[in-house]
Symmetry: D3
Subunit: 259 residues, 6 copies
């Protein structure tokens, strides 16, 4: 059964999460549907894509499905994982993608929202980066992603505290392009989308690609990168990592010892 809905009107595509039971969790199944939808929409001359939850949602998306994390000893955020794949797919789409956000956004879903080009939120929007709560060593390109949008200080606070950022704070930190009232959210978003459809898709496509490449252009030497991967492996091989996942699934606070 469909866990997302898809629509295309006047060159504006819309993907609406539709799995309220699981708080629109980014399960492998939901991601598969998204990738297929995106493929289908592109055949229909889509010039802007809006990603959203149903009107009035309390949770935009609960993020990663922790049940689907690999066993300890395996990198939980590797290149071909479904979540990482869909993030790249959105970043590489040659059209603007707008995240229209009501409700809370968790973990991997933050990364999904930030992978969109323009973020428009209602006052109920909030953003919480949870890896430090579970013990996950986040991946390098994901962290760079947050730094590029929010600056270094806000990215650190978000990752280190694992506390939700309110819509107001997200607006101040530059994560939200616009914070608008809940009842104006749709109109505001689709107005912007329609304006964009009248501009040159070729010009926009190449500018988006240039920004993607420049934003990623913080190159590291092979030695430095391999050191980072070594550090990350130490974390996903650790007792704390196993404890973090176990505690999450048992719905209790984890007890981390640093081992």
């Amino acid at each position: 059964m469909a866990v997302i809905n898809t629509a295309l009107q006047d060159n504006v595509g819309t993907i609406t999460f539709n799995d309220p039971e699981h708080r629109n969790m980014l399960s492998g199944a939901l991601i598969d549907e998204m990738l297929q939808s995106i493929g289908a929409l592109q055949k229909g001359r889509m010039r802007v894509l809006v990603i959203r939850a149903p009107k009035g949602s309390k949770v935009w998306s609960a993020g990663h499905d922790v049940h689907e994390l690999p066993l300890p000893g395996r990198d939980p955020l590797s290149y071909h994982d479904p979540l990482v794949t869909v993030l790249r797919s959105i970043q590489s789409l040659p059209i603007p993608v707008i995240a229209m956000i009501e409700g809370s956004v968790w973990g991997g879903a933050c990364d999904l929202a930030l992978s969109c080009d323009i973020l428009i939120g209602a006052p109920s929007a909030s953003f919480c980066m949870t890896p430090a709560k579970i013990g996950v060593p986040y991946n390098v390109s994901g962290i760079l992603h947050f730094m590029n949008i929010m600056g270094v200080n806000f990215a650190k606070e978000m990752f280190f505290t694992a506390e939700p950022l309110s819509a107001e704070q997200a607006s101040k930190a530059g994560l939200l392009n616009h914070l608008v009232e809940a009842d104006e959210l749709e109109e505001f978003t689709y107005n912007m989308a329609h304006k964009i459809t009248r501009n040159s898709p070729l010009s926009i496509g190449v500018i988006k690609e240039q920004i993607r490449l420049l934003a990623s252009a913080h190159p590291l030497s092979p030695l430095t990168f391999e050191r980072v991967q070594g550090l990350r492996r130490t974390v996903y091989d650790s007792k704390d990592y196993a404890e973090g996942i176990k505690a999450f699934l048992e719905k209790r606070p984890p007890v981390f010892t640093g081992d």
Copy 2:
């Protein structure tokens, strides 16, 4: 006849756009005058340069002269074009350049304003990046320039919508250092300029150069860059590009098909 005015007082140079008939468009002629003025001012121990329009201007500058764009099939933003040359000249001046802004700023003139080191605006200031409206594939160093000042999200919105950013939004996005009332604009700006003239010009000069180099230090491999140039060439060889320029000159909305 002069399309800019030049002054130097107490080590503070001023260049005032003075071509209201053409909305202070950055024509080849205006840019030539600017380059000459800058050269002349530097001989006079200028320690700060202010770039401005006349008091009360509705338009700070209308940007690129679209009549001067090269024929389709040629890169419209190449290294030796007058606009690109004057941007580099301002970025490389070993003294601080302050943009004092009243009125609207369009296309290439946004890039000129952002090439200044410090931007001070009145409430009438607005900023509109127009390449997606005309179909122009913007150049890499120009896009990096916007990203470095506004962050990734705001830069994308500005380029993709080609809608004016109000003074308030520009202030929030970090494009304006200061937003001050119209009648305080001059005093505020020249106060800051004079303070700077009392600091060490050698220390300032080297710090400005270091920031210029660091901000540009998002290096790309030759292969990546050539791919980007290939994409950009596809755009300026396209039908849409010809349509964009034609429509602009005919003062009608363009019809883009993506071809």
Copy 3:
């Protein structure tokens, strides 16, 4: 006699500047004590470090001890200088460091505050970057540091004017994560610190290291870097540099000629 105080409670370490006579200047002696304290605290399972001045301080820290600058002809900000060493030590600590700030912060102490991961300030906080006032050519990694946190425009204004940034401006520029009332400062700060102690220290440690590496990943070619070092040497070999230091020590405004 101790010029700092050290405490550790519930895995939160605190270093309190305690040299009011010298306005908590970052003398070689104070820095030595800091380095030793940090080492000692780390043995005690510290998971967050707070750096602060005593409650109600007018000056958080006066920065570099200008008496300790090397003679002209020597780089005043070289890799093994005490200040530069303690900055690296804070940036490399595998735990979050919070700067809790009341009062004014000067020169090198700004760099110290910005080397902390999260900055929380009271309304009395202010930040002043003074090198252009003394004639010092700041170092490349220090300048990059400011750019990464404040963006290009605000960093330029701060360095070129050498004027204090108020707490409000610092908050707007993204330098302060939070601006809170003086009487709530402690509670707000330690609340955040305690929340962080409950998260995974391994996950946090590797994320902090990744951010450190990515933020520094603005690489320059050897030729470019040696040119910059040549420019910086011209500055610290200049008459103006000698004048800047002399004037500061004589407590009079410097007279810079650009030679």
Copy 4:
């Protein structure tokens, strides 16, 4: 009519140039056939590809078809040109490609030969880089390619003199992996090819891709690259460039003035 022949035996594919009339010139037509052949061979579990001319050829390939160069004012080596496309295709093939060389190799065909992973030549092999003879500004990734294989000094001599490098010199410069007698060339080459087919194709594929990425990892800042493109444009807009092509087509020595 086919200008190449294709074969596949024991997992070793072979592409043989077969256009002796035009000295195996890399015309658009020949390149199209190569791209199609490569595609077809890959479906047949090819694990090594050999590129060669017929036994005893005096000319391995005459290189670029100068008739197909774009008009002056257009980059003659842009990303989507047929020659540049086939070079990338060979470099990106996830299997080893061996150039087996008898006879002279000219201009673009040198770049093709060097795009192969392993070069094996007979004493009749020679290599001549002709752009300085025609007045072409070579592209950045192509030049890097020569530097990576031959070192800086030999690459400069080859480009600046536009004189043929003999098989012996090519062997000394590291361009040829092996220099073998003409009558042993085939056996030597196919022996090596068959050995490779017995090794792990997955391991080889990823190692080839890593070498490709590392060899290209000489990143340049956008500003530097745009300066280079500006210099190159000056060349292909010049009188000398038009003269170079004209002289080549008229089979007379060019007269270059530097304008």
Copy 5:
């Protein structure tokens, strides 16, 4: 029992492999002893280190102990593995390390030999890179290492064929600094070592470090690196990888299918 011998005379340290039974395989035990020896030698004012096998050895070292490779699904060349650790240790030693080589050098031992600064070989020396024979995805910094010393073409041949390079070929490819007769090998090597001990150790130490950093300075963007790690993971998760190790341990040729 000791599997290496250690000596220090006239500031020249020597580590001699001494595990002929296991063909001087780089087992965890042997590497531990090496790391300890290096530590001990450094306390004794060693200024050059020679690494060698006993006079007349048929095998210099058989390389990696395949029994110690991790299970499929884990990166076999990760940052903290013993072999990778000892390579870094030699590369980072602030003194020159000379590899004095008689006999065959296999797999990881090639990387060890190439990690030395200067290689001197007898005619019996040979070098064989075996990962493609076993199905191992080699690591990025290791591959860069070979490229820096041998150039791109020879590195590719060595990895793709997994055939031994003779001393003569190694000399031609620049892998060996000197190829000398077996009975002159010791004298030649220790003569050079003693000459080096008379030069400035500080100057040499910093030059070695600069070369190490420059040689590694082929930086890649996080996205590119994560793609490579994804490709490598596909390989060590594959059936072929399991087959390669199994076949090696069963001393039979592997049968690779590409799956």
Copy 6:
């Protein structure tokens, strides 16, 4: 009195060292003359420059004038030093520079010879890099220069042993493009020079600049570079550095202690 001779014939310029008394040492005076000659020659439509010593010289150039090294505590190879300046000037000349070499080449003169684009030597040529003999911490761009031409292994041996490389070895290491008999040296060199003058100077100029930029494109992060400068400073602040210079001037072997 002139310490160099200058000639220009058929678009080939020649600079001949002419200070046999001082073994063609690269004194400030000699370098000044070179810089002026180069400037003058460029006005005369020079298309190739040959740098040479008089026929039959035993010493091509003795290198740096050690008397002119700055006092300990100052970087002896900084950006604006005469030697470093002339190296850049040759590397940036938009025409090929050929070093025609008879006799021995010492220290800084090696760097000068390697700064030429093509090196042609007689059997009497030899090359000796002396910094480790004097205790000088060589500069980063200089070391990169040697690595790019000779590969890593040979560069290390040359720097660490400070022993002369014979013409034969230099040829094998790729430092010499051609090794020719003494009595053919002139003819061989000027033949090549004249061939080059008939090729496109614009094409050659831009290719040389591209090679210069690519060869320097081994970028390092600011932090890494500042660490290297810190290490280098430790060396030129050391006792050993003072001893090295003193011993050289006293013509006795230095005694280095590592302090």
